[in-house]
Symmetry: C2
Subunit: 134 residues, 2 copies
């Protein structure tokens, strides 16, 4: 394996067509950015920025990444990334790894017409609580 | 939330210093690319390209993404992404989401001097086998 100091992001290739299974969710594709206010009883409230990126490679899966940062300083906060896998029957699986050391499986359904995705966390794995047998 | 057609990748901010916990693994940071030959008893052998990207945001965690593609056509194959979390005691947690609908927790150790990271898969969650209760 060879380390590259620069170079293109990926092999030269025309943008692939959106896979038919991804079409109902293609409105998600792109970069989404917003701001919010975080508040918990035990800490000071804080303003944060958030960015979500949904992309595809022509396969029946959407790549997903998300990050938040403190608005005042730009300091990074949470990040997560994973994949959204829509199925022909209107169900969808989402697998996510989080910068805090969690993995998560969410399952649910999508309503393409109304642009509603309903997800429920079905599995959370916490790296710091998984048994280690070295 | 607002969709952006373009814009910069992240808020303007000077590159942050590498977190002390990431320093022992900082040789990983960057883009790595290689080629390989895949072979299984049940399918034709195939040549593939592979790219790994390790990056950081100044926090005590390394962002990781990986993808493979068929060398002949450039067609995307596998992809995965997640986070590597080194600890001061030389242990390390890795959390990964895979484009095939799997999540994985790997745990192990790193040897900074010899640039060896030893990982063992400790948890695999398969989205298509997790119970769905909608």
């Amino acid at each position: 394996m060879e380390g590259l100091a620069g170079g293109s992001d990926s092999p030269a290739r025309p943008p692939p067509p959106v896979h038919p299974l991804v079409v109902p969710l293609s409105y998600l594709l792109g970069k989404w950015r917003g701001e919010g206010e975080g508040g918990y009883p035990t800490i000071n409230s804080f303003s944060y920025g958030e960015e979500l990126v949904f992309s595809h490679s022509g396969k029946p899966v959407i790549s997903y990444s998300q990050k938040t940062w403190k608005l005042a300083s730009g300091e990074p906060m949470h990040a997560e990334s994973g994949y959204w896998r829509p199925r022909p029957d209107g169900s969808i699986d989402v697998v996510i790894a989080q910068s805090t050391g969690l993995v998560e499986v969410q399952k649910g359904s999508y309503d393409a017409e109304n642009k509603i995705v309903t997800l429920k966390s079905e599995l959370v794995g916490n790296a710091s609580k998984v048994y280690i047998s070295l």
